[in-house]
């Protein structure tokens, strides 16, 4: 298929339909409303259903019901709406249901702003809802990668019976770039024999549930979840690195911020600086091991985010004291400039190249 120019939010919808998702439950919120609008227009054409719920809370619980009934299903929102969905997300994780959740982040806390931000990193990677659970969190940096991760995200969700979150910011939702819809590598997915579709009189009832009132049973369930998360950590880390074996300074950034860092790096290279980049694509599982490849000559790691410093915690865990870690961020919908990043990198150089 030829390349088409698409807005990020609409590309998400097109990719989801391409991945066989026929059901979308959502609620409008800027800056992702083009996605539910797109789905309301396109899903009926493929025999699917778009439903605008009465709230984000209802929408995510509709996703729970539909996923429990064995169908590929998704929802999307932006930061404050994702907060409302946390109840449903932890139930979905607890009941081990596959689904795709898109968060096109905006500034916070509270109602915040509608401009791009990355302030929900903690919420996405550390929980957000109650209990010991994990989402697979994928952070695309351009519209093509967004499309690819949406399509693969559904497969990851089905393979592990786990919710997958696509974490983008307002910029990637709003911008247009060329995309091509390709078929990703096929994963072996098993039948959803656990789904509630009616017993048909042929088997015992299936039950979708996250309640284990007996402590021993709940601990067993938690151990099983942790074993699953361990396998995901082994298999699903995604990261892009640039020049880290030979860099004096390494920038760690994800999503659109990483693109700004790339612009800064190419400018710095013209001035003779050696700067590398680690761009985590999976934020959970986090690519901790990638930081082990950084050369010993590295003077420091600069973490750049559109928040007050969240992923920097994971960077510190990853380098484990091997290098000094510094942070530069903008918040409130302000976007870091390449020049500001360049200035920080030069500070780490301390004047000498």
């Amino acid at each position: 298929m030829a390349k088409v120019l698409m807005k990020g939010n609409e590309a998400i919808g097109a990719a989801a339909i391409k991945a066989g998702c026929k059901y979308f439950f959502g609620y409008p919120i800027t800056p992702q409303s083009e996605l539910p609008e797109y789905m309301s227009r396109e899903l009926p054409k493929v025999g699917g259903i778009f439903l605008q719920a009465e709230s984000e809370v209802a929408a995510i619980n509709m996703v729970y019901g539909a996923a429990g009934a064995g169908e590929r299903v998704m929802t999307s929102s932006s930061s404050p709406g994702i907060s409302l969905k946390q109840e449903g997300i932890t139930y979905i994780a607890g009941a081990e249901l596959p689904c795709l959740i898109v968060n096109i982040m905006r500034g916070g806390p509270g109602l915040g702003s509608i401009q791009p931000s990355q302030t929900d990193y903690f919420q996405a990677t550390r929980g957000g809802g109650n209990g010991d659970y994990r989402l697979v969190v994928l952070a695309p940096a351009d519209v093509q990668e967004l499309v690819d991760l949406i399509i693969e995200g559904f497969d990851i969700a089905d393979q592990y019976r786990n919710p997958v979150m696509i974490l983008g910011d307002g910029m990637i939702g709003q911008m247009m770039e060329p995309v091509e819809f390709t078929t990703p590598k096929q994963r072996e997915l098993s039948e959803k024999d656990w789904a509630t579709v009616g017993t048909g009189g042929k088997r015992n009832p299936n039950i979708i549930n996250s309640l284990y009132i007996d402590p021993e049973s709940l601990e067993k369930h938690n151990i099983k979840l942790q074993e699953k998360y361990k396998i995901i950590k082994e298999n699903e880390v995604k990261v892009e690195s640039y020049n880290i074996e030979d860099a004096d300074v390494v920038i760690a950034a994800y999503g659109t911020t990483a693109r700004i860092a790339k612009t800064a790096i190419s400018k710095l290279e013209k001035e003779g600086y050696k700067v590398g980049l680690i761009r985590p694509i999976s934020l959970w599982p986090y690519p901790y091991d990638e930081f082990n490849k950084i050369s010993d000559r590295c003077k420091g790691i600069l973490t750049v985010e559109m928040n007050s410093g969240q992923m920097v915690d994971d960077v510190k865990i990853a380098v484990d004291g091997r290098f000094p870690v510094s942070f530069y961020g903008r918040t409130g919908g302000m976007v870091p400039t390449p020049d500001a990043i360049i200035e920080r990198v030069k500070e780490i150089y301390g004047g000498e190249k």
Binding site: E54, A58, Y64, G65, T196, G198, N209
Partner: protein
């Protein structure tokens, strides 16, 4: 030996956890019998709430999902929209449906979701230990209303059936009670009619069942039946509020 009575296939053999004298058992049986009699047991997907009937998924002999507190109508919506040929019902208490889940039940009814709801109203939060519900009567004591419900402080008890019967998408609304054999028979009839509305594809249906909570009311099971008759029925009148032919 002639079998004159046997347990419905609509219920599993799991012993229930309900308190002695609690009427959830009766209501479960009625629902189970109706599922069996309508021939939808193999096709049904039920949704259990949070509250006393949280374990309903262990008792109904069909596929079940357990929903977050109050969200059963949203979960049922998700199921029914992707599996329109399955029979989908929710079983919810008054804390679940009439308090935390009002948005979900109102909008499921409003959209005319083709699901059926059994709403068990015992005027109290049972599972958490007798706290005040939105349905608790004026003057009725609860662990969070130790001096009795005061209208000036908490408002009057909410009448769900009356409220939902103003919504166009709700095609069947009836309030019944399970305090006497005659009322139990009427309750079963209402549940059956309500479920048939869904099978005929007509829209949303709900049966509100006035129920007892001897444990938290501090009464014997027999006294509780009497209390329901004397106190609940006068405020929550029994009867049908809506049938499809009345909706235009």
């Amino acid at each position: 030996m002639t079998v004159v009575f046997q347990k419905t296939k609509g219920l599993t053999d799991n012993p229930t956890h309900y308190c002695p004298g609690c009427t959830h058992g009766i209501i479960h049986r009625l629902v189970g019998e109706v599922l069996e009699e309508l021939g939808v047991l193999d096709n049904a997907i039920g949704v259990a709430p949070v509250g006393c009937s949280v374990f309903a998924y262990n008792y109904f002999n069909c596929d079940m999902q357990q929903a977050a507190h109050g969200r059963a109508p949203a979960v049922a919506t998700g199921i029914k929209r992707v599996r329109p040929d399955n029979f989908v019902f929710t079983y919810q208490g008054d804390g679940d449906l009439a308090s935390i889940g009002t948005a979900e039940i109102v909008h499921a009814a409003h959209r005319g979701e083709k699901i059926s709801t059994v709403f068990v109203n015992n005027a109290i939060y049972g599972m958490t230990g007798g706290q005040m519900a939105p349905t608790t009567l004026i003057g009725q004591k609860a662990t969070t209303a130790p001096y009795g419900r005061d209208e000036a402080h908490s408002g009057r008890p909410i009448r769900i059936s009356e409220m939902l019967s103003t919504i166009h998408g709700a095609k069947f609304v009836e309030r019944v009670a399970v305090n006497t054999p005659a009322n139990i028979r009427k309750a079963k009839k209402a549940i059956k009619e309500c479920f048939q509305i869904q099978l005929e594809g007509k829209g949303f249906g709900i049966v509100e069942v006035l129920s007892t909570c001897p444990t938290n009311w501090g009464l014997t099971p027999e006294e509780a039946m009497k209390w329901l008759e004397d106190n609940m029925i006068p405020y929550y009148p029994l009867g049908n509020f809506r049938r499809p032919e009345e909706v235009e």
